[in-house]
């Protein structure tokens, strides 16, 4: 899967879960920039898992704080 495709799909998931209408930058932090609360942070991980049909380890998933983090993380899973 191309990186650009991952980026687009991650942003779509983020926009849906966090109910964001506008532009989402690659470096956007889910909490600081997009206003995610703790429940939404958990929902995001679940939504990524579903979108990309992967299972993210809980400890590592919690360290994913930005769109870029998520893309890097998912790219690693998709490759392997």
């Amino acid at each position: 899967m191309q990186r650009q495709e991952i980026i687009e799909r991650v942003k779509k998931v983020v926009a849906r879960v966090l109910k964001i209408d506008g532009e989402i930058s690659d470096g956007a932090n889910f909490i600081f920039d997009l206003g995610a609360d703790s429940a939404q942070s958990v929902m995001l991980v679940a939504a990524f898992e579903e979108e990309f049909d992967i299972e993210m380890e809980e400890d590592k998933a919690l360290q994913v704080q930005t769109v870029k983090d998520a893309v890097d993380f998912i790219a690693g899973y998709v490759k392997s």
Binding site: K19, N29, I31, F32, L34, G35, D37, Q65
Partner: protein, 710 residues
């Protein structure tokens, strides 16, 4: 009284009197901290401007919300950060760039959780330092300022407290909410209320100094869980008390003796952290309270009423029993029941019923109404032989509780002497108690609490702060030599210096050490004894043996060379029997001095307060009686004298019951010298001089055994 060092306080006005406040990371979800903090500020009738900062919301509670703090056009004095800990550093960095002066970080998840939390805390410390931000928290409840010119409740406490003159500092956030609820029920008002949490930047010492200079604060209360800079707290408290006369009351939780059990010395085992805190607080003039209720019982006496000028109290009651209970408590607290002047007695006799008791305690009889209370309270209060009045009421069917409460408030308001009240009971007296509390008459559920609060205020009035500040006593001219001896020992891997090696160090500080020698054989022991002159004392030298008598390692009153040789053999045999594992260095032979009283002197290094000196009745039962006094080192002669007189058994030394007074001045000189040694030589972890033999007055004292642990 100690001179005030008057360290300038940090300017925290942007924290307590901000013109503008940003709540960073707030949201629209009621019942969550980020939301409720914003609403609490709005509800507190804050006099400045509030800016919600929320990444997602356009508006919150009718206010325009900003995505970032940097989006706010106006300058911001104070930011309250309520984001989760993982992004707090980002918010703080933005605050720094924006030029925000003060920040309160409410969020938890920092030092208190360990691991990554410690890294996060270091990161926010660095950011605050870089931008010169005054930072409160993290992991705290927030700050409250009731001053009408600010009216700021930047906390998640449910309600703004009443305005008052008590400044409250707390390391625990959750406790604050309970304290506020407790205080509100009793109409206890606060000037400032601060939960300082992990104190990453602004410390309790900074806040103490701020309250020192805060004209709205008359009484300072502090709740502490751990003390990182004990001497700093002592200095700040001394300074507050000396320069402003504001009392400082403290609760230090964790009153356990942890760390004291595994000590290698008598001093170490006796000086638990709690004993050291007691001593330090006493030295600094801090009033230590065992719980929240006692703290507020004392605080309201300070906050509402003048300080007593003397200890003569009058009791006015409508029931005999409570009057007696209060009398007993007053006497126990060192107060005196006032003897009324003839004029007072005359008025009381003429105005009260024949069955009333016009002597102290004045019993106005069960059917007393407000007029009788008025006469008894106002007459006793104005008697020049009375320094304060305790008013007791029991709710009898004839008692007009509210009218009496109003009368008591009116009389109290016109007097320059303290008046406390106890309306006993709960349900029936509640309306009267409410009147007293609203009118700032200290009220106590139990009448016995009145003498306790009064005597605290009286002692504070007559306070003398013990000794100079730590840097007030100069280093000994022999300090370098002593440190060199200790350093040499440490370099060669030594951790313990027994009497033979400890004595030269003590001698450098002028302690009266007796000459002795170490015998490695029975023959040497006999020869040393002959040279010393009989009688001699002999004792085992072993790092492994703390209680020498327990292992029969001491022989006294040896009168001949043969007896010395025999004593040597006996000591080795007995110690080998009791402690086969102990490594024996030899046997010390020393001239025996005539009998005297035995006392113990010691040093311990406390992690929070540094070197501590101990004094107590010595000998083999020191740990059994625990009759010891501690002070933070160094101490002057006056403090040393207070230590000597402070033990329960001080009469043994000062000449009680016909005993010959002992040379306490010589003991005090030893204590001051030892405390100087403790302050000069950080190499010493613990030190015991047990015993010091104290001769009759003018005859001095002698170090009979000593041990230094490094």
């Amino acid at each position: 009284m100690a001179q005030s060092s008057q360290v300038k306080s940090r300017n925290l006005d942007s924290l307590f009197y901000p013109q503008s406040v940003a709540v960073v990371g707030t949201n629209k979800v009621p019942g969550t901290v980020p939301h409720d903090i914003l609403v609490n500020i709005l509800k507190s009738d804050f006099q400045g401007i509030v800016y919600p900062v929320s990444p997602k919301e356009k508006s919150i509670s009718g206010l325009k919300a900003y995505k970032y703090v940097s989006d706010i056009e106006d300058p911001i004095d104070l930011a309250i950060i309520v984001f989760p800990s993982s992004v707090v550093h980002m918010a703080l960095e933005q605050c720094g760039r924006k030029g925000v002066k003060s920040v309160v970080i409410i969020s938890a998840g920092f030092k208190e959780v360990g691991g990554e939390g410690i890294l996060r805390e270091n990161q926010i410390k660095e950011i605050a330092g870089r931008y010169g931000i005054s930072l409160i928290g993290p992991n705290c409840l927030g700050v409250i300022n009731t001053d009408p010119s600010s009216k700021l409740n930047a906390s998640f406490a449910r309600k703004m407290p009443e305005e008052g003159s008590i400044g409250f500092l707390s390391q625990s956030g959750a406790l604050c909410t309970a304290v506020l609820d407790y205080a509100r029920a009793k109409h206890i008002g606060f000037s400032k209320f601060i939960s300082f949490g992990n104190k990453a930047d602004v410390s309790e010492i900074d806040l103490l100094r701020y309250l020192r200079d805060d004209p709205k604060t008359r009484v300072i209360l502090i709740y502490l869980e751990e003390i990182s800079d004990g001497r700093g707290i002592m200095e700040a408290a001394r300074d507050i008390i000396a320069s402003t006369g504001k009392p400082v009351l403290a609760i230090k939780s964790g009153r356990t003796a942890e760390g004291a059990s595994a000590a290698a010395s008598h001093t170490g085992s006796l000086a638990g952290s709690d004993e050291v805190i007691d001593a330090a607080f006493r030295q600094a003039g801090i009033i230590r309270c065992r719980d929240i209720e006692v703290m507020f019982n004392k605080a309201i006496a300070f906050a509402y009423q003048p300080l007593p000028q003397g200890n003569r109290v009058a009791i006015v009651t409508n029931a005999g029993g409570p009057g007696v209970l209060t009398t007993d408590a007053a006497v126990k607290e060192g107060l005196r029941l006032a003897s009324f002047s003839e004029a007072t007695t005359d008025v009381l006799r003429k105005s009260l019923p024949k069955t009333a008791n016009t002597k102290n305690p004045v019993d106005v009889i069960g059917d007393a109404r407000a007029d009788r209370y008025h006469i008894a309270v106002s007459e006793t209060l104005k008697d020049p032989q009375v320094d304060g009045v305790f008013v007791i009421l029991t709710p009898q069917s004839m008692t007009d509780i509210e009218a009496i409460a109003r009368e008591v408030c009116s009389v109290a308001g016109q007097s320059s002497k303290p008046l406390y009240a106890s309306f006993m009971g709960e349900a029936d007296v509640a309306p009267g108690v409410d009147i007293l509390q609203r009118n700032r008459v200290p009220h106590y559920i139990l009448p016995e609490s009145m003498p306790m609060a009064f005597s605290t205020a009286y002692r504070f009035k007559n306070r003398t702060l013990a000794g100079p500040a730590a840097d007030g006593i100069p280093e000994s001219p022999n300090a370098a030599k002593a440190r060199a001896v200790l350093d040499t020992a440490i370099r060669s891997g030594r951790r313990v210096l027994l009497e033979d090696e400890a004595a030269p160090v003590l001698e450098l500080y002028g302690l009266p050490v007796l000459k002795g020698g170490t015998a490695g054989s029975a023959e040497q022991a006999a020869e040393l004894a002959r040279r010393m002159g009989f009688p001699v004392v002999m004792k085992v030298l072993s790092e492994d043996i703390v209680h020498k008598f327990d292992v029969k390692g001491v022989v006294l009153n040896i009168a001949t060379p043969d007896a010395a040789a025999e004593a040597y053999r006996s000591i080795l045999a007995e110690t080998a029997r009791f402690r086969p594992d102990a490594k024996i260095k030899g046997v010390l032979v020393r001239k025996m001095i005539p009998a005297g009283e035995e006392v113990i002197l010691g040093i311990k290094r406390d992690p929070s307060f540094g070197p501590v000196v101990m004094f107590g009745l010595g000998g083999i039962f020191v740990e059994l009686f625990r009759d010891v006094q501690f002070r933070i080192a160094p101490v002057d002669m006056e403090t040393a004298d207070a230590m000597v007189r402070g033990i329960q058994a001080s009469g043994i030394l000062t000449g009680a019951r016909g005993k010959t007074p002992r040379d306490t001045a010589a003991v005090c000189a030893c204590l001051t010298a030892l405390s100087r040694l403790a302050a000069d030589c950080p190499q010493i972890a613990e030190l015991d001089i047990n015993p010091v033999i104290v001769m009759e007055a003018g005859q001095g004292c002698f170090v009979a055994d000593a041990k230094i642990m490094m």
